[in-house]
């Protein structure tokens, strides 16, 4: 690929009315890199991801994907969104469609794939992530973990260059979290470029190349996980990690 970073965020500001949620985010993610965003609720992790995916318009700043400035005027927003996959905390599967159709809808309509092509690829993906028997089921018959895995597959079916995961295990019961983390781990091992907002510190320490701590809309500290988790520089980071350990999540 080109020498450009997979993702570059320059001075990103985001305001909702009077409240400023993101205050000047600067972030660079190289190809094949896995970056984990950690921080308290309301620190801006979700908003940042939604801005990258252009779901939220930015108030100021620039975002570039592989050198192309996606926040510029006149950009085909739909095309950009096809290249960036995002998975949400609340799965957001389409309840009126089977698992298979959930996965093949966008490839068929947005990428123009034929039904046969899309079905074959979807089945392969679903099989790979252990969902082969659920192909003709409706989402209401799946467990939370299965639904989230389908949501990930649905995003993968578009063959994105970059994946954004927004606290994808936060809504799941503990015993279902593991199966979803496995999927993400596999994606990371296969070299998918990912930005993951998460509360799962143990998981972050395992797979992240870099961890960013967000506080009140700015990246307070970032670095390799071993350093951040054992020797954070900032007081606030320390406090945050203390709370996490006390809550038994590490």
């Amino acid at each position: 690929m080109t020498g450009e970073p997979a993702l570059r965020v320059d001075g990103l500001h985001k305001r909702f009315g009077k409240a400023e949620v993101l205050r000047g985010i600067n972030l660079e993610v190289a190809e094949h890199e896995v970056v984990c965003l950690i921080g308290a609720s309301g620190s801006g992790k979700s908003t940042l991801l939604r801005c990258i995916n252009l779901i939220e318009p930015v108030s100021a700043g620039r975002i570039s994907v592989y050198g192309e400035e996606i926040t510029a005027a006149g950009v085909d927003v739909n095309r950009i969104r096809r290249e960036i996959g995002i998975v949400f905390q609340a799965f957001n599967l389409f309840p009126h469609m089977t698992v298979l159709r959930n996965v093949t809808l966008a490839p068929r309509k947005a990428l123009g794939q034929s039904r046969k092509e899309a079905d074959t690829e979807a089945r392969a993906l679903l099989e790979r992530f252990g969902l082969a028997e659920k192909v003709q089921e409706y989402p209401d018959r799946l467990s939370g973990g299965q639904q989230q895995r389908v949501a990930i597959v649905r995003a993968l079916a578009m063959k994105p260059r970059l994946m954004l995961l927004d606290e994808v295990t936060s809504a799941l019961d503990p015993e279902l979290v593991a199966e979803v983390l496995e999927v993400i781990r596999e994606l990371a091992e296969q070299g998918m470029t990912m930005v993951i907002a998460t509360h799962e510190m143990g998981f972050a320490r395992d797979i992240a190349h870099r961890v960013c701590y967000l506080h009140e809309g700015a990246i307070l500290e970032q670095g390799p996980p071993e350093r951040i988790f054992t020797e954070p520089e900032h007081e606030r980071t320390r406090q945050f990690l203390q709370r996490i350990i006390a809550a038994g999540r590490m």
Binding site: N53, I55, N78, R79, R81, R82, E83, G85, I86, F88, A90, F91, N92, L93, F94, P95, H96, L105, A106, K109, A110, L111, F129, G130, L131, E133, K134, Y138, P139, D140, R141, L142, S143, G144, G145, Q146, Q147, Q148, A151, R154, A155, M158, A171, L172, D173, L176, A178, E179, E182
Partner: protein, 295 residues
């Protein structure tokens, strides 16, 4: 770690439990136990038995029975009213299709975003207010007698055509509001999910939002259908001989009101199955809606 997936019988946690049916069961709490069924049957017999006795013993009952439930007039009315009822059915089917399509169009127009579409949205609002505000029978009369008088070329003058047009205009206004409520009830996260996959606004509307919206508003939609089925009787004010008018004719000929009861039976025969079908669809959709992780 295996990907065998959770065992089938593990309750999907992290999701709200799908409620079997939100209201009390028809038989009472606990459902169809032997005790419940026995009590239900007994009280049915008692209640309906009492009502029947009260009616039959009332002073005017023989007269009412003779005038409204006369057996021989009942028998002789069935055939002519059945033939006339075909007109109601034809009108219903054709209008129904037109209404479903036009109302959806109107609802989509009403929800178009952006300042550039303001005039379209305004027209949609004016249309809806106008045709919901005027009584349906007035619209039928105005169009039925007014439009043919305009002597427009190539436009049919038949009563059935204009009655049908009036019904379509009026019901499109009501049904478009129902659709709109449905569209707005679909959680915005569904649109977010679809758009984030790269689907355009039109594709999102067509494949994700509208299918869900329609399924959600099936009860009020079917309510309107049932209303339409009955309002086809309004074609009689323009002189067309539908089931109601045929009942009028028979009734005036024999000075007996039984034909009206026969006409009523025909209407009910259509609307009751429609109502039960609605119930089934609602139950099925409610179950599905619980999943997908949407609030």
């Amino acid at each position: 770690m295996s990907y065998g997936g959770s065992p089938e019988n593990l309750n999907p946690t992290g999701l709200p439990e799908p409620a079997p049916s939100r209201g009390p069961s028809l038989l009472g709490s606990g459902g169809a136990t032997f005790r419940n069924v026995a009590i239900a049957l007994l009280s049915t017999v008692v209640v309906f038995g009492l009502v029947a006795v009260l009616i039959v013993e009332s002073a005017g009952w023989p007269v009412v029975r003779e005038a409204f439930f006369n057996r021989s007039y009942f028998r002789t009315s069935i055939s002519p009213i059945a033939h006339a009822f075909v007109l109601n059915i034809k009108l219903f089917c054709i209008c129904e299709v037109a209404i479903l399509i036009l109302a959806l169009l109107l609802a989509v127009i009403r929800s178009l975003p952006g300042a550039v579409f303001f005039p379209l949205r305004l027209m949609a609002i004016v249309y809806t207010d106008l045709f919901r505000g005027v009584p349906t029978i007035l619209v039928v009369l105005l169009l039925g007698f007014g439009a043919p008088s305009l002597d427009l070329t190539d436009v049919p003058t038949s009563a059935v055509f204009w009655a049908g047009t009036a019904l379509v205009l009026v019901y499109t206004a009501y049904v478009s509001e129902v659709y709109r409520a449905g569209i707005e009830s679909v959680h915005p996260s569904q649109e977010a999910a679809a758009r984030s996959l790269g689907l355009s606004r039109t594709q999102t509307l067509r494949y994700v939002i509208i299918p869900q919206a329609v399924r959600r508003v099936i009860p009020p939609l079917l309510n309107d259908f049932i209303g339409l089925q009955k309002d086809t009787a309004l074609v009689s004010v323009l002189g067309a001989v539908d089931a109601l008018q045929q009942a009028n004719i028979l009734s005036a000929a024999d000075f007996n009101f039984t034909p009206y009861v026969v006409a009523a039976v025909f209407f009910i025969a259509i609307t009751i199955p429609l109502a039960r079908f609605t119930d089934y669809l609602v139950l099925r959709e409610r179950r599905r809606r619980q999943a997908g992780g949407v609030a």
